[in-house]
């Protein structure tokens, strides 16, 4: 186990090194820092002096070493736009994104497991076919489009008058199909609960939860079909195995077999894929946050791109890279703990 741990952590450090080199290359390759700092009236000699003072004439390896030393100490430079350390800016915006990811993950866990298990146990039931059909369509809808449709339906609202309004049933059907709208679709709302540090939470007030609902649903919608399909496929395979047949032959109740014995082994691959997917959700927050103007790191990153705020872009890359690397490493380690056979393959690779 220790060898496995060391190997994974070594790999994580290697990946972070590559990310830092890429980030450094971006910082170095995009634009001239002097142009950002000084006006036109500064003479060439002064520019050259400043260049020397800032260490811009040093060999590239020396410059990278300085960048990396600062980065390890938590100094990734100052944002051009905010005028404060980029890490502080990111820490201000990170809670919003994390809460979005947490809310979406909760929705995925509590919906995908029952639906996936049901679709595996009763593959021929019309409800399973319905769920599988919806998930096929769901995979084909980009997340920002789901978000826009949700806004149109529940925030702007739809009035339906397809049915004759003068009859009782027509009026009733019109009411059923129309939505009044009014769900918040912009930002996090005013009633945030202050937790600690810079963490303001949406979870503890009704208004906060309402603001969270539409963004979280659209973020969850991108991963939900994938998880339903995965759980269904794994569960169906587990149900074919000998130990399940043996349990069935012994007359153990189907409920106990399905949810105690089968589900346990179904969840093994789901943990690996799932953990990685939740990391990937950070990428999709960029889209969701743009649509809902959710003040998280995704929106901040996109604004940094339009403002050419290069230090902030670089800092975002480093932080998100770190998040990815940590989730992947933790997922690997957890998987190694719950499934001891993985250690053998881990050694070989």
């Amino acid at each position: 186990m220790l060898a496995f741990l060391v190997q994974r952590i070594g790999q994580a450090i290697l990946v972070m090194f590559v990310i830092s080199v890429i980030s450094f290359a971006i910082q170095d390759g995009l634009g001239d820092p002097l142009r950002q700092m000084v006006g036109q009236s500064v003479s060439d000699a002064e520019r050259e002096q400043l260049r020397e003072d800032l260490g811009l004439n040093d060999p590239i390896v020396v410059q990278y070493a300085r960048f990396a030393t600062n980065a390890v100490q938590g100094d990734l430079g100052n944002s051009y736009f905010y005028g404060e350390p980029t890490l502080d800016v990111i820490m201000d915006h990170l809670p919003a994104t994390l809460e979005l990811v947490i809310a979406a993950s909760l929705m995925i866990i509590f919906l995908s497991i029952p639906i996936g298990v049901y679709a595996a146990i009763r593959p021929r039931a019309w409800l399973s076919k319905f769920f599988m059909g919806v998930s096929t369509v769901g995979i084909s809808i980009p997340v920002f489009l789901t978000a826009i449709v949700l806004i149109q339906l529940f925030s702007i609202g739809v009035t339906v008058d397809w049915f004759p309004a003068d009859t009782g049933w027509g009026q009733w059907l019109n009411d059923v199909f129309s939505t009044d709208g009014g769900m918040p679709s912009y930002g996090r709302g005013q009633e945030l609960t202050h937790l600690f540090g810079t963490w303001d939470s949406n979870f503890f007030s009704w208004d906060g939860l309402l603001h969270l609902l539409l963004p979280a649903v659209s973020l969850a919608s991108i991963m939900l079909p994938l998880f339903i399909r995965l759980i269904r496929a794994e569960m169906m395979e587990v149900l074919q195995s000998d130990y399940i047949r043996y349990a069935q032959a012994k007359g153990i109740s189907p409920w106990r077999i399905n949810f105690l014995h089968a589900l346990k082994n179904t969840m093994l691959p789901v943990i690996t894929v799932g953990g990685v997917q939740i990391g990937i959700m950070v990428a999709y927050t960029i889209l969701t946050e743009t649509v809902f103007q959710w003040p998280g790191v995704g929106l901040m990153f996109l604004e940094a791109i339009t403002r050419s705020d290069i230090p902030l872009i670089v800092a975002y890359l480093m932080v998100v890279g770190l998040i990815f690397v940590i989730t992947n490493t933790v997922v690997d380690l957890v998987y190694g703990l719950v499934n001891p056979t993985v250690k053998l393959t881990g050694k070989k690779a």
């Binding site: 990946v15 590559v18 971006i26 390759g29 995009l30 634009g31 096929t136 369509v137 995979i139 084909s140 809808i141 980009p142 997340v143 920002f144 489009l145 826009i148 449709v149 806004i151 149109q152 702007i156 496929a233 691959p269 690996t272 894929v273 990685v276 990391g279 990937i280 950070v282 990428a283 999709y284 960029i286 889209l287 743009t290 649509v291 996109l302 791109i305 339009t306 050419s308 290069i310 872009i313 890359l317 998100v320 890279g321 990815f324 992947n328 690779a349």
Partner: protein, 312 residues
């Protein structure tokens, strides 16, 4: 003469093949294929079919902006699906936009297939250090999610080229970005089938006959790994179209003057609060239908060719 008979026999072989047989019996596959062909044909014949030319600034009248589709009040019959915020005919813009989206989708898949096949073959056949380096890169890139990689590369390109320059060569850049971001998917598939193929006797036979490694890889092994490439390539077209739409929606893709479906959705989204839902939702519907039929065709291909792809 000989080519004619060869073509005829190839056609009759196709008619008798299992692929054609299962296609005829699968209603979903037939409908998806027909819908896809209709959309693709309409998109590529856009200059002939479209009632207006959305690239021709002289024909656009700002007074026509935000007209609703014909089935709603206050519409103009010469704009069947209404107009966008600049007064461009939405039907024509969608036709041209679909063409751009399809071009980028296919272009990106061709690029990623070229990269994926090359790296997958090298990794699978040569093994050893080449294999572990290439697959480690693929792992890292996949764990970052292809969308994230595409967004980052897009952002860097946009910052280094500047808005105007980026807009002019956006199609090529998007093909490059998406192709480079997605190559690991195909490389992994190719590598897996190469590992299975290289143990077979025909490879040993080729080696004994003294063929060079390149020839064995590309002429002998590659043809036997094509069916999983087709399956995953089909799904990847859908993914590439979605990625392009996502990038354009974020403003890292096609400019408004030469819109794809994604940038149409983006420009329409600014007007959704004022009630003009059609500018964003009709291109959105086209995008979803296009991606859905490609995905359904991919599902069907996977069932027919049955390479063991979707595991773990």
């Amino acid at each position: 003469m000989t080519t004619a008979t060869a073509n005829a026999s190839r056609w009759s072989r196709f008619r008798e093949s299992f692929l054609w047989y299962s296609f005829k019996r699968d209603k979903v596959a037939i409908v998806s294929f027909v819908v896809f062909v209709l959309i693709a044909a309409a998109a590529f014949l856009a200059p002939l079919l479209a009632p207006h030319d959305p690239y021709d600034l002289a024909t656009i009248n700002i007074m026509n902006s935000e007209l609703p589709p014909v089935w709603m009040d206050g519409s103009d019959p010469s704009f069947p699906l209404g107009t966008d915020a600049q007064g461009r005919d939405l039907l024509s813009t969608i036709l041209y936009g679909t063409r751009v989206s399809l071009l980028i989708g296919f272009g990106a898949v061709i690029l990623q297939a070229a990269l994926g096949i090359l790296f997958g073959l090298l990794a699978g056949y040569l093994g050893g250090r080449v294999d572990s380096i290439l697959m480690r890169i693929a792992d890292v890139q996949l764990s970052f999610s292809t969308l994230m990689v595409a967004i980052i590369v897009g952002a860097v390109f946009k910052a280094s080229f500047g808005n105007l320059m980026f807009g002019e060569i956006a199609i090529y850049l998007l093909i490059l970005i998406i192709g480079v971001a997605e190559w690991p998917q195909i490389a992994r598939t190719v590598r897996a089938s190469v590992l299975a193929e290289k143990k077979k006797e025909y490879v040993d036979a080729a080696k004994v006959m003294g063929y060079r490694t390149n020839r064995i890889m590309f002429r002998h092994i590659l043809p036997n790994t094509l069916s999983p490439i087709f399956v995953i390539g089909t799904v990847q077209i859908a993914n590439a179209i979605i990625s392009e739409a996502a990038l354009s929606f974020l403003g890292l893709g096609m400019p408004e003057t030469q819109p794809s479906l994604g940038s149409l959705i983006k420009s329409g989204f600014d007007y959704i609060q004022s009630g003009s839902w059609w500018i964003t939702l009709i291109p959105g519907l086209v995008l979803v239908v296009l991606v859905l039929v490609i995905n359904l065709l991919g599902d069907w291909l996977r069932d027919v060719m049955n390479p063991r792809l979707y595991k773990g």
